[in-house]
Subunit: 256 residues, 2 copies
């Protein structure tokens, strides 16, 4: 029995989110069906991050167990030959049988893209949130500093979250610009339900002057969802990378 | 009677090209239908560049005549409110009644995008040509120099072209890189049918070592389509901008 880890990229536009559900096609559903058909056995797939409908990924992580003698790294090509073009495995490798993608220490990186110009551009319509008003990137980056470190992020958690604790640590948060495209990049040890989209929605209000950078501390301390900005639209969000630093160290696995 | 110029961006994925035809939806067909419905009159639309199915645009130019009293610059918003999200007007302005988008001196810029990495990324699948082999960008840029200036580009013209002359002038051609994405940018006074895609296909063969940069002169001089590289896929191509330098000068119009 081997446990195989799949690093998976997808365009979330045409899926009802990543997690299997009864109505509508999901990333996990398609992956599981193709794996089962490839291996001719029923596959149990465990995913690292549940992404909402319309959210994209460059590096979501899935694991499954198999008796198959296919070399672990060959799953990338075997699956890509079967999967639809909007899902592409980026890496496949063996992990130890006790590796669980959600019960391990993680470092996750997300990006939130904003197209900031006077008129929308069709090619970005599914991959970036369009904002007409001029956004002040310096103020947004100033606001980013207040999020860094360990905080109770209850103000940035959507209702309906099942998280036991709302304390998380943000290691890095910054905004960069390339032409008309602003990208918010955030790295942390985990994120609450809709947290990155609420952080993005709050930074947007900093960018347009409705919230001052120095108000962020109070918004965090208030632990009240109503204090933060709105949840920015799903399509701007991409799960970029999930790392397992402790696991990688102990097993000397390289994911690069 | 006023003549209105529309600068138009579109995602060509879901269209059978830009030019109206009997079967399948086209950019021109949708634009014409929405204009006619907005103005409640039959509209004759003249386009600057015919783009193939799957080719994108950030600045294709259309003109039409109307008796309407809608201020010229308001057509941008009036049309965008009606058009599907994959077509977006970027600018509307009045031009003189003898302005014809194809019979004027033009300077056109196209970009051809190549995703150059080991595995495809879903979000680029409709907007960049995926190439697995490492491309040598320095060699591609060296090859670019041989295209510059006025040449007979018969080697870079697809069969079935109705062009009277195959002589064109290329003002600029270069390759730039941002992460995994290579962008070929070309500016000239006009391009033959499929010319940019054949130039891209030829530069790809320079990038992977099958053609040497210094062989480009001979390929141009041979005036034989068989000497050049293949026609690179449509989805990598974007019509970025069309300028009318003489017209803009004489009428002091600003398009920026």
């Amino acid at each position: 029995m081997k446990r195989i880890k799949l690093v998976t990229a997808y365009d979330g536009t045409n899926y009802h989110g990543s997690q299997i559900q009864n109505n509508g096609e999901t990333i996990e559903g398609v992956l599981k069906a193709e794996l089962s058909s490839l291996l001719k056995e029923e596959i149990n797939l465990i995913g690292a991050s549940r992404t909402d409908a319309g959210v994209h990924a460059r590096g979501n992580v899935y694991v499954f167990d198999t008796e198959s003698r296919i070399p672990p790294e060959k799953f990338t090509f075997a699956l890509n030959a079967r999967l639809p073009e909007d899902i592409r495995i980026q890496e496949s490798c063996e992990v130890s049988c006790d590796f669980h993608p959600r019960h391990q220490d993680t470092v996750k990186t997300y990006e939130y893209r904003i197209l900031n110009r006077k008129l929308p551009l069709p090619e970005y319509r599914l991959y970036a949130h369009f904002v007409y008003e001029d956004l002040n990137m310096d103020k947004m980056n100033e606001a980013c500093k207040y999020f860094l470190g360990e905080h109770d992020f209850a103000s940035f958690c959507a209702a309906g979250s099942q998280a036991e604790s709302t304390v998380r640590t943000i290691y890095d948060l910054h905004v960069k610009k390339a032409g008309d495209l602003l990208t918010i990049s955030v790295t942390g040890n985990g994120f609450l339900y809709n947290m990155v989209r609420i952080v993005a929605g709050t930074l947007l209000k900093v960018g347009n002057g409705q919230i001052l950078p120095e108000e962020i501390s109070g918004i965090i301390d208030g632990k009240d969802r109503k204090l933060a900005g709105p949840t920015a639209p799903a399509k701007g969000l991409t799960l970029v990378q999930i790392r397992y630093p402790e696991y990688e160290k102990s097993f000397n696995f390289t994911n690069e």
